[in-house]
Amino acid sequence: MSIQYIYPEFEVIRNENRCIACRVCERQCANEVHSYNEDKKVMISDESKCVNCQRCVSLCPTRALKIVKSDCTLRENANWQNDTIKEIYKQAGSGAVLLSSMGNPKSFPVYWDKILINASQVTNPPIDPLREPMETKVFLGKKPDVIQRDENGNIKCEMPPQIELSMPVMFSAMSYGSISYNAHASLARAATELGILYNTGEGGLHEDFYVYGPNTIVQVASGRFGVHEDYLSAGAAIEIKMGQGAKPGIGGHLPGAKIVGDVSKTRMIPEGSDAISPAPHHDIYSIEDLRQLVFSLKEATEYKKPVIVKVAAVHNIAAIASGIARSGADIIAIDGFRGGTGAAPTRIRDNVGIPIELALAAVDQRLRDEGIRNNVSLVVGGSIRSASDVIKAIALGADACYIATAALLALGCHLCRTCQSGKCNWGIATQRPDLVKRLNPDIGSERLVNLMNAWRHEIKELMGGMGINSIEALRGNRLMLRGVGLNEKELEILGISHAGE
């Protein structure tokens, strides 16, 4: 088509005084934005291909580059905003569903940012984490109802399988295929070093990563890719993925182009075939079917592995969670509407689901109202961005948090949100060998470990300020939270008071 309806979104600004034409930008851009003009001996760029991943900016040795938002603008219109109009142009040209990646970027309220944390003054003492023990260890899993004793009256210390975490954070599901071998290696190694868990996602478990089994959650999703007996037994826990926050109600689609080599082998499907995960599990059309899958998996692993059921936060999440808590599952994972994805239809990503803060508060309260909170542990994800988000989630009632976007950021992701292209310049969301090698797991795992250690320090500081020296005493401790700028309904759902009350 000869008419360019859409002006490029970004501009590549090159400071010619600084550019030494080393061409690292050219070599590092999989989108082929940069090139070298031999005649004029200068670098030139085609910004129409730029996705603003900032790889060139980060590697330019003289800081000669920056990427800025193009100021070429359509006439302002509060109703028909620029992005909306451009999407129309795109669809009028392609006739296709719009695709996006990573989490919902729209300006819905972020409740974490409207919640404030308490601290001790006078009536009880803050605790200094540098001087006193400060415990962040948690156990996830079902707690038994009845304490049994032997004939001598001693407690029989048998318990359903539990997951032990050194801190209440885990790396959430990202499949091998949607992210690279090296990204998985980084997550697995970091989880092992940190004493937490990472999650295979629905891509099976590469044979090289079985050694990290004690720190692995193996996922069983609707496509059942890569699921076999050894796989189920390899991990510390099994997760049934019913839904994902970024795309509730739909399945997944990993294009054949990414099903190459080890990805195909690990998924147990032919090279080049599209990996399509159906929207539902076709053996689960209702809650009683879920119970059967939960127990099938428990049978297959001799009741040694806790089973997690992961669902997207949707409108009636409290009732759904109540059903899951009675299904035999040990842990419920809830993924909020801001959760990330390697690819999702834009309309679904941006319009379906509810905020994790509200979902968590509603579920925790519902399970308590029904007296079944002890049946399950609660893990929440879908945009946990910092240690303070973790603290707020725990105080609202979560046992632990799942992070994925934050982990990818630690690996270098710049949230350009074009994972679906498969040309991730950071070596994360790609299977191209020349790009995958850009993520050295020695660096990746170290950065993840650093990030989590930093959060752990911050969590301890925040706990100490509240006079709490064990994370258990924070869980569900909603008095430690206050809302600011929230209406009564929001406060009621969150189960917290307004600041000043």
Binding site: S120, T123, N124, E472, A473, R475, R478
Partner: protein, 366 residues
């Protein structure tokens, strides 16, 4: 904004506590316990004082003794009608008090000695204690103007707004004799003072006096409320009493086990245990009841039928000392209080954080 009533808002509170028990079951007059609060006068602020005595009603020892506050006569009549549907009321009377200028605005204070109707417990398929607990919970949550502040057998609590030493005089405690006594002086920071809000807090024969402000409150409350308890007063003492009732009566833990739940040893301490059975048990209880770990400063004395247990938080953030003399064991926030009860007390020591001190009256002596 109107100042909120107790029960409408959480009330932190500093305090003084004291207790005495005779291991031989020898009965002591209540006078000593209220006099021992005098040297700790400054630990209270006049907004609450109270006592629990065990073994004080030997003539009614098989009956539940309900001590109650009523706002007015009508409420009392209404409540009595309710009680009659559920219990045989063997005796009902005004609790005798002494008019003194230090204590004013008293509600109507009655006591009832009752036995649950078998037909009711059978209908509800629960045991007698559970039935009594539920009844107390029902009155205290649903009957406005009526409040049960003591519900055990052969024991009773006495509490009021005022300094504890005055409260003892008000209730004429010198006329009661018990094998153990606990005492509490209150320094609340968030209440105009309410009779029901004074301590000890009790349920059945469990009574708690507590000093400190716990930081785990809402985690503990929201957990325990899953099991039929209702934290109406929003005080630490209330929630700790329910936790102890749940762990000991419902979950059948021993006192020591219950102590390791609420003041659980640090994971690093558990790791270092050489006795494998103990290590396994501590680990199990911590994993099983994470939401019942109580953090922040507390020193408590739990009174129960035939004994006392004193316990500090695991960091020992509140003072508490123990002393002995002959068959008696004394516990108090300050040694001065112990010396008032027994000038020659021996072996004064400060128990370590999380280390329960359990004293039981010898079998058959109470």
């Amino acid at each position: 904004m109107m100042m909120k009533r107790e029960g409408e808002v959480r009330i932190p509170s500093g305090c003084a506590i004291a207790a005495v028990i005779s291991k031989e079951g020898k009965r002591m007059s209540g006078q000593k316990i209220y006099e021992c609060m005098k040297p700790m006068h400054d630990r209270s602020n006049g907004l609450g004082g109270g006592f629990a005595g065990y073994g004080i009603y030997p003539e009614y020892k098989d009956l539940y003794a309900f001590h109650m506050f009523f706002d007015d006569r009508d409420t009392r009549k209404l409540c009595e009608a309710f009680l009659k549907e559920r219990f045989e009321i063997v005796q009902s009377e005004i609790i005798p008090t002494r008019k003194i200028p230090e204590i004013t605005n008293e509600p109507i204070i009655w006591r009832y000695f009752v036995a649950p109707l078998k037909s009711m417990t059978e209908k509800m398929q629960i045991d007698e204690k559970e039935f009594v607990a539920r009844t107390v919970m029902k009155i205290n949550t649903q009957m406005k103007g009526a409040y049960v502040f003591s519900s055990g057998k052969n024991m009773g609590t006495f509490k009021a707004v005022g300094f504890p030493e005055d409260v003892g005089v008000f209730y004429k405690l010198e006329e009661y004799e018990g094998y153990s006594w606990t005492a509490h002086g209150r320094y609340p920071t968030n209440t105009p003072g309410w009779w029901g809000g004074a301590h000890p807090f009790t349920l059945l024969d469990y009574s708690i006096v507590h000093n400190g402000e716990i930081s785990s409150y809402d985690a503990n409350r929201r957990f325990i409320e899953m099991f039929g308890y209702k934290c109406n007063l929003q005080t630490d003492t209330e929630v700790i009493t329910y936790i102890m009732d749940y762990l000991i009566r419902v979950k059948k833990l021993t006192l020591k086990e219950a102590a390791t739940v609420i003041a659980a040893p640090f994971w690093s301490t558990i790791e270092g245990k050489e006795d494998m059975e103990e290590k396994e048990r501590l680990e199990y209880l911590r994993k099983l009841f994470p939401s019942l770990l109580v953090t922040g400063p507390f020193s408590i004395v739990l009174g129960f039928d035939g004994g006392l247990m004193a316990l500090n938080d695991r960091l020992k953030l509140r003072s508490m000392v123990v002393g002995e003399k002959d068959d008696k064991v004394y516990i108090a926030s300050e040694e001065a209080a112990i010396r008032t009860m027994e000038p020659d007390a021996e072996k004064i020591w400060a128990p370590a954080g999380g280390e329960p001190v359990i004293v039981k009256v010898k079998d058959g002596a109470y």
